[in-house]
Structures are given as C-alpha cells and as structure tokens.
C-alpha cells in the first residue's frame, strides 16, 4: 500500500517548528509551551506509524444470475495490526444496484480481527461483468498518514436476460429431418393421422385401418405425420438503438431473443443466432442446453457499435442460414441496412417473420407544431415500411415494451395463416 501524508502532518510540523523558533527568538517560553502539544502529537504519530497488514478475500455467491435476482458479495477482512480507520470501496457496475449494505464503508479493525462484510446487489440489466476490485484506504490513530491500495479480486458475473413465459411459438413452415416436437407436413412414422392408402407389402400390421378395410374389402393402412424438428435463426439487428435513460430497444430485443431461443430449444429445435450490426456475430444452429448457453453468452456481448459501412446479405456466412429455416428478426427497423437485408432474405425464399421492437416509446415527446408534424410523418413512414414487408408476405408485428411477447407472436402466427404471398 502506498503511504501518503495527511495535511495535518505538515501543519503540525510547521506549527511546532514556528513555536519553538519564536520562543527562542523572542525569549518567551510560553510560545514553546504552545508548540508542545503539536510536537507531541507529531512524534507520537510518527513513531507509531506502521503500514497496515491486511488480507482481503472477496466471493460472489454465484457466477450466473438472471435479471432481477439478488447477488451477494462477501468480503472477508483480516488485520494483522489494529487499523483505526479503514475505508473500503467496491465499485459496482451500473447494471448492479446495491440493495443492502453500503459502499464505500468505514470501519475499524482490532488486533488480529477478522471481519465479514456482505453486500447485496440486484441485477438490473443483462450483461457480463467483472466484480471485485476493492479500493482500500487506512488511517493511523492520529490521522497523520494514509495508506492507499487497490486489491484485485475480480470475479466474473454473467447476468442473463429475463425470459418470458410463452405458451405458443411461431411455427416454421418447413421441418427438418431430425426428430422433434413439430408435426411435419410430410408422411412417415408418427402419431398424427395424415391419410389412408392401400396396403403394400412390408407395411406394419398395426397400421391397418380395419374399419376402412372392412368397407373396401381390402387392406388399407393409416399414414401419419411424423414429428420433426425445425431450424430457427434469431436475427438481431444491432446497427442502432433508441434509448431513454436506462432502457433501450436493444435491451428489450435481447430479452426477446433469449426467450425465443430458450423456448425453441426446449422444443428440440435447432436455433442459431445472427447479430447483424456494426459488428457481425453469429452462431451456427445447434440444439440442447449447451447451445442455449452459447446463445445467451453471445447475447451478453451484444452492443451497438456505430458503423457507416454498408452491409448486406452477402456478409452473412451461408452456413448460418440453413434452407427451410425460419428467420425470426428482432429489429427496431431504424437502419436501412437491416431493412434491406431482411427484404433480400425474403426475396431469396427464406421463411421470415419480423418482430419490430417499437422505438416510438423511446423517442422524446414532440413539443411544438413542427416537431409533432415530424413525429407523425416518421410514424407514417414506419407504417409504410411495415406495409411493404407485408406485401412480400412477411409478417411484421409492432411490439411495445411492457406488452407480453406472446401477444405479438400470436399476431405473427395469425398473419402467416392468412397471408397471401405477393410477387417479390
């Protein structure tokens, strides 16, 4: 720890010296008497000054948490020598809000004392952080010296986005070849009835539909729809965001992406991720719990990086867009590059659905007639953009923060059931 002298040290030394010298010069012993207490404090403080011996340990009760959960930070202190006054500060990231305990904190440690301090912080927003850099400042009993130091006990803390409960999802139009939970349109081994056909050599006897066979005086068998998995690509637009204070469209979009990934993976579907913005990031489709952690960890690194370079579909690696996959885009539809890329994807025949994270709530309220007019024109322009997507057969649902995601997904599903495809 680095030792620094307090202002008192120089002041007392000066007062003591001035008093003694004045006493000599003026021949008045009273001035020496006035200087005596300052000299006494000075010498006592200097002789007793000693660098503190302190051991610090910091522990988080977990490495992963979900938004809204409380994380406990435990700090263990052990002092070899008494420390009259110890100031301790643990800076917390903005995404953590202290709910119990205090930092900075002042305390006193006796000889060989061990002390445990607990801080509880609420995880306000998703993200990946390092928590545990401690700033210490110790003072001696007479406050002549300060000892400052930093202790690095940083540990990773990942705060995952809070996932919503969903009862239904948008169903991709096409299925894949692996077993899953979605009823395929093809015929094969399954439990959902599809059709009847004449018995062919090799058909299982359990498939015979006896009622139909009795009517037709020949054997007929049931054909079933198999259950297959699907491929879903979550397409996250990270070019720009609309922000108001602590919340932004990106925060909402990441929560929606995490929710969708979690639900689709639970259905045994394969889920991939494309973070399309100033910084392109992708994950190839995969399934299972490991893929969920990969996707969520990738989402934690999501941030807006401003870029003016034009980006289109060609920068996206082809393997991240498997054929017959549903591309679920989550976007505020603010950047032309994302808008154009999604239309390009639709034109190339991909199954596309767009969840528009509405930036309207994050825009400042219009004041004055001109601003109100501009605001209305902006909203009309956005309505026209949605209509353009819908002409291509792409469902676009405006989703406002605070509304349940399930409602927006239901709208997407309703559009897909009734959509008439227009020529691109």
């Amino acid at each position: 720890m680095k030792r620094t002298a307090s202002p008192k040290l120089g002041a007392y030394a000066g007062l003591a010296a001035l008093g003694l010298l004045a006493a000599l010069v003026l021949g008045r012993p009273e001035l020496a008497v006035l200087a005596t207490p300052f000299a006494l404090v000075l010498f006592a403080g200097l002789l007793a000054a000693r660098e503190p011996e302190i051991r610090v340990a910091l522990e988080l009760d977990r490495e992963r948490a979900v938004e809204g959960e409380i994380v406990t930070i435990t700090i263990d202190l052990h002092a070899g020598w008494p420390i009259e006054r110890l100031e301790l500060h643990v800076p917390l990231p903005d995404d953590l809000e202290l709910v119990e305990g205090a930092t900075p904190l002042t305390l006193r440690l006796a000889w060989d004392e061990e002390r445990t301090i607990e801080l509880q912080a609420r995880c306000r927003r998703w993200g990946a952080h390092l928590v545990g850099e401690l700033f210490l400042r110790a003072h001696d009993r007479l406050d002549l010296f300060g000892y400052e130091g930093t202790v690095d006990r940083r540990q990773p803390l990942k705060i995952y986005p809070r996932a919503e409960e969903l009862r239904s999802l948008v169903t991709p139009l096409e299925t894949q070849v692996f077993t899953g939970n979605q009823v395929a349109r093809t015929k094969g081994e399954g439990i959902e009835f599809a059709d009847l056909r004449r018995y062919a050599y090799g058909d299982s006897l359990r498939r015979i539909n006896w009622r139909a066979s009795a009517r037709r005086s020949e054997l007929w068998v049931n054909e079933m729809h198999p259950e297959r998995n699907t491929d879903v690509i979550v397409f996250l637009d990270t070019f720009v965001e609309a922000r108001e204070q602590d919340e932004s469209t990106l925060d909402v979009a990441v929560r929606a992406a995490a929710t969708l990934a979690d639900r689709y993976l639970k259905r045994k579907d394969r889920v991939g991720l494309i973070s399309f913005g100033g910084y392109l990031n992708w994950l190839l489709p995969g399934s299972g719990l490991v893929q969920l952690y990969r996707i969520v960890d990738s989402l934690l690194d999501t941030e807006i990086i401003l870029s003016y370079a034009w980006k289109g579909v060609d920068v996206i690696p082809p393997r991240t867009l498997p054929p017959k996959a549903l591309i679920f885009a989550i976007t505020p539809l603010l950047d032309e590059r994302a808008v154009t890329t999604l239309i390009d994807l639709r034109a190339r025949g991909f199954d596309l659905a767009v969840l528009e994270v509405s930036p309207v709530a994050f825009a400042s309220a219009a004041t004055g007639e001109q601003e109100e007019l501009a605001h209305r024109l902006w909203r009309l322009k956005r309505d026209a953009l949605r209509a353009r997507y819908q002409r291509f057969g792409v469902p676009v649902v405006e989703w406002h923060e605070g509304e349940p995601l399930e409602g927006a997904l239901a709208e997407v599903g309703a559009f897909r059931r009734q959509a008439r495809y227009a020529r691109a």
Binding site: A13, L15, R28, A39, L46, T106, L107, R108
Partner: protein, 136 residues
Amino acid sequence: MTVLALASLVLLALALAVPLPSLFPWPLVVLGGLYAWSLGGGEIDQWVPLYAGGFLAVAELAYWSVELRGRAQDSERLTERRAALIAMLSLLGVGAGGVVLAATSLDIGSGIAIDLLGVAAAVGALVVVARLARPG
C-alpha cells in the same frame, strides 16, 4: 488586536466552509502571534498550558470536520472514538505544556551556547520529522 483576532476567526471559518485544510494552521499562527504580543515583557503566563490544549483541540476539530464531510458510511461508532481521542489529546497537551512550563523554571544558565543548542534541537527535530514522514 481585537480586529486581528476576529480576522483569524473569520479565516478559520472560511477555511472550514470551503473547505481548505491548507489554511487551518494560519489562524492559529495569527492567534499565537497576538498572544505573544500581549505577553510583552511581563512574567510567565501560568495559564499557557490550557491555551496550548485549546489550540490543539481547535486544530484537531478543524481537520476532523473536513474528514467527516468526505467519509463513507460508518459501520461502527468511530465518531465517538474520535471525539474521545481529541479530548484526551487536548488533556495530554495541557499536561505536556505544564511539564514544559515547569521545566522553564530550571536554571541551566544562559548565553549563546544555550541558544545555539536550542536552535540545533529545533532543527534536529525538523530533520527527524522529515525523515520519518518520507513517503513509503
């Protein structure tokens, strides 16, 4: 003299209000100078140990007030301990001042040699202070 005394109080009040710890010693220097002037060539003032304790208390309280403003939350009763410490230091200052005052009544002679010894002692004390106060 009254004006100067009031001015030193105003200076102390200003230093506390801003706060400016570097200004704290100066009101005490002014008050000490006024006290020396008031002594003139008279007899030794027997009450001076009390004034010494008072001066120390003023200085300690001034620095403590600045420290309290920037202090983090106390997890225990440090304020009470510090108040008790200041009171004890003031009393010890009075006692030490009394000892020094008593020592002035000893007859060890006079002359330049004694004066030089005193100067050397003062300078030596400052050197010791400077060495001990070196940043570690």
